[in-house]
Assembly symmetry: C2
Homo-oligomer: 196 residues x 2
């Protein structure tokens, strides 16, 4: 997959892309501005913290390709005196908030919300778990599930329309709390009993 | 474990207890009124549907032993035209609602919320999953986790104070929706990456 890494700072994006390209020679990664990254991509993965989503998207609303798929990975958890708190968005979930911000011709799905960053960062790690995907429509979810399937040992599970993000984001919050309680860094979920 | 099966109708409770006793000769099960069952038990598992919890508890508030542990297993999901809807209680969760209804000298924990009834009903089935336990205090959760551990291949996970029921009950709702989507009856969860 060809990846364009967007940033407010093109130099930083280019530098990070070069570093990743050296670490993983098979990868095709280039750096760009957020605007270039968005306008050149069929699939846009929003990996900015939830608190910045609105600001970033509002500046780029006209940059999206018609028919682009946006995958929201954010979780509205904030840390207060070191403790994670779920800051429930007015829309019910971060996914629904992203949907409201974007024009109709952009499809929205949620995925990669319940995965530990430590494992996502390490391409040699085995995720060996499930990933919950919700989205606008069956077709949107199928596109997003195709992206999830490209990752080794990660099984996508279709959890239905976008409002299921209300559940999935709370599960991500639970994983954060379990990591703290059990002194782990990679709590994640598998669904038992589903013939997917 | 000695089990007293409570019902509004003692005859029905006795009949069911006798039937279960025949099916599982090692079991020690007797039938009783709800009041007798509650007043004779150190651990009371509330297995009435969420919609009846308030009515049942309000009639029995003086029946509980001081220091009794109540395990709430209910999930506030209602079916509307065949579709499951989460009917969020004013307290945030069924578990917190039960807590509010009961006197302080009764300890409250939540467990068995995310397990499929089909598997719980079948003592030969292997659950082979995790069960999320939240409750008043560490001591209360430890008592409830001890009950969970008595069940073969069921691992209790401490998810903290009672308000975590808000997450766990939504996960139970998710399992119901996954069963419908994937034509299963026994979707359930396992947490990967925890050294419990």
């Amino acid at each position: 997959v060809e990846v364009t890494l967007g940033s407010r700072d093109v130099a930083r994006a280019t530098e990070t892309a070069a570093r990743l390209g050296q670490a993983y020679p098979a990868a095709r990664i280039t750096g760009a501005s957020n605007r270039e990254a968005i306008s050149s991509s069929e699939v846009v993965v929003l990996t900015v913290p939830f608190g910045y989503i609105k600001m970033v998207l509002e500046q780029q609303l006209d940059a999206f390709q018609p028919g682009a798929l946006v995958i929201d990975v954010t979780v509205p958890v904030v840390f207060e005196s070191g403790r994670p708190r779920f800051a429930e968005p007015a829309e019910g979930s971060a996914g629904e908030c992203v949907r409201r911000l974007l024009p109709d011709q952009v499809a929205v799905a949620c995925a990669f919300k319940t995965l530990p960053a430590t494992l996502l960062r390490d391409p040699t790690a085995s995720l060996d778990c499930d990933e919950f995907v919700c989205g606008d429509s069956k077709a949107t979810r199928d596109r997003a599930m195709g992206v999830v399937r490209r990752i080794h040992k990660l099984r996508p599970i279709d959890v239905g329309p976008l409002d299921a993000a209300q559940i999935v984001e709370k599960m991500a919050w639970l994983a954060i709390m379990l990591n703290r309680r059990y002194k782990s860094h990679d709590a994640r979920f598998r669904v038992v009993g589903l013939d997917v």
